[in-house]
Amino acid sequence: MTNSQNGNGEPAGISAVISDFGPITGPTSGPEMSDILLIGVNHKTAPVELREKLAFSTEETETALKLLHETPHINETMIISTCNRVEILMVTKNQSLSIETISSFIAATKSISLPQLKKSTYIHSGDQAIAHVFRVASSLDSMMIGEPQILGQLKEAFKFAVGKKNTGLILNRLMHKAFSVAKRVRSETGIGGHAVSISYAAVELAKKIFDTLDGKTILLVGAGEMAELAVEHLTRNTVSGNLLVANRTFSVGVELANQYSGNAIRLEEIPEKLKTVDIIISSTGSPDYVITKNHVKPTMRSRKNRPLFFIDIAVPRDIDPAINRISNAYVYDIDDLQGVINENIDNRNAESIKAERMVDESVIKFTDWCDSLNVIPTIVALRNKLNAIADMELSKTMQTLQHLSSSDRKAFEKMAESLINKILHDPTLFLKNPGVHRNKTVYLDFTRKLFNIDS
């Protein structure tokens, strides 16, 4: 939006607000044309302390949505708030005013100074905003590229906004497109294909040893955050299965076992239990090996060589690496798992190039749709203007032709109407489809100026 267009009753100083935020990426729209606008912070622009402060709770989201719903220049809104991003997505008729509304609202409710907020905020509009939403949904903008949670969070946020009647034609379509782009990216690229966290990597490996994790018994030795996370992921992949917890302090083991409806055992029982368990996750603080080759070798016979998978996330290590040399026993320590992860991360980054292309394709399609939306209001405005002129001229003429019968008057009116139709026919066709390589918005803008529609 140029400054000259700001003169239409907007308070002074808005352009200053925009310039404080830095440039808006993407086109700025003219008045009467709805545009998609996105204001937000994410892990790349804001440190965790700021993101924490900015995060919207459910109640806060509800209040904000209600407020934005009542704001006249904002048509549609939704709020995305996760631990890595806070974004407000809207359809607005007035970008600069909306930016001011949003930023002052956030600054007030979150008690953050405007300059501090502005430093970390990014603003996208039009196709840039569309691309951003698609990239977020496809997990291309995530801290860990390809992580699957963001899509669910986005769906939740959208559902919430729909429930509050804050979304409309444009956002509904935008979000549905975003979900289908995300789905396509997930199924056609390897972006979410391989584990990129220790616990996921452990589950992935377990699935390469065991056909299914159902009915497998997991033994957790020692308690630690990472071990618990691995147990959580493993148990999430099983419908039925047992969990045993062995801990130096028995009471801690009992507590943890209860948490996952498992059983606690004493450390001394481990060699005996090796006969029945399938997966061992170890993370004790012990300086020596907790399980050695001599523990495992004799049990393989009574196990009838059923595979045994050791996941050692302790440093120093708990599991004797020599166990890996026993047939049907597999040992992965933290470095091995890290190696798996690093390779997967490289793969994901390579796959994200493919994903970006898919996003670009979808953005072009969506922008086309948005443009076609803007054609209609222009044509309607044009028609209204011509109708107004015709009405005025007709009534002037009719005053001097009082002797005409009502059917004669009808004939004049009809003629005026068909003149308008004939005049508008070609411009309408042209505006709807100005040709493949021509930018529709340019012609729309030109038409509005030519007929002085926006005055």
Partner: protein
Amino acid sequence: MASILFIIILLYLLSSAGYILFLFAQKEIYHQLSYRIMMAGFVGHTILIGVEFFRIGYLPAQNLHQTLMFAGWSLAGVFLLLKYRYRLNILGVYAAPLTTVIMIAAFCVPAVAVSPTPLFKSIWLILHIVIIFIAEASMALACGTGILYLIQEHAIKSKTNRFFLKRLPSLEFLDRTGYTFIITGFTMLTIGLITGFVYAQLVWGKFWSWDNKEIWSMITWLIYAALLHGRLVAGWRGRRAAIMAIIGFAVLLFTFFGVNFLLEGHHDEFTKW
């Protein structure tokens, strides 16, 4: 006939290429396409053997050319069936090229004239041949599954080869599927040997004549029996079972071809060329 055989080989070759492409690119469509191409080849192959069967009036497995044709046919058939049942798509990387190689060998070996005897028409002989070939095809697939198991086990143990780790199914699945193939093969082998004994009784008047082929067949049977016994009693799973499946198939191949070429026995004429 030669041109039809050529087309069949071409289809198998195309299917092999598709499966190899699948190994690298991991696109579902490749193995689905390869499976269908192989199916087309198999249908042509079946027609070819069927026509020959009706033309000469006995099962065409009486010289090396025919034997190889039949071996390729049974391998393709058993693979198509078992792959449909067990969904071990990646095994096509082994089965399709193996079938192709057997068929190319059959193409290269000239068909020598067979002097038919009424004995060829015995139902026991037909059953014996068909069942033994199905058994051998199952064992070939068990061997292939064993190879895949060893590759995957090495990938997991060594922690360096992520190429196969990603592409091959889980060890437990490979182990269980290989076991199923061996059970199928062993059952067929047992029935096949029994029909062979019955046929021998009808032709030579005795079930067992200490022929090299008979002795080696028995050795092969005992190896697989030991493998199954070991699995049930001592829990020979995983690596050991995979190695046994490979050794078993090597011995079986020797019984099938080696005995005829290197030793003398009463099956010699079937591999004449």
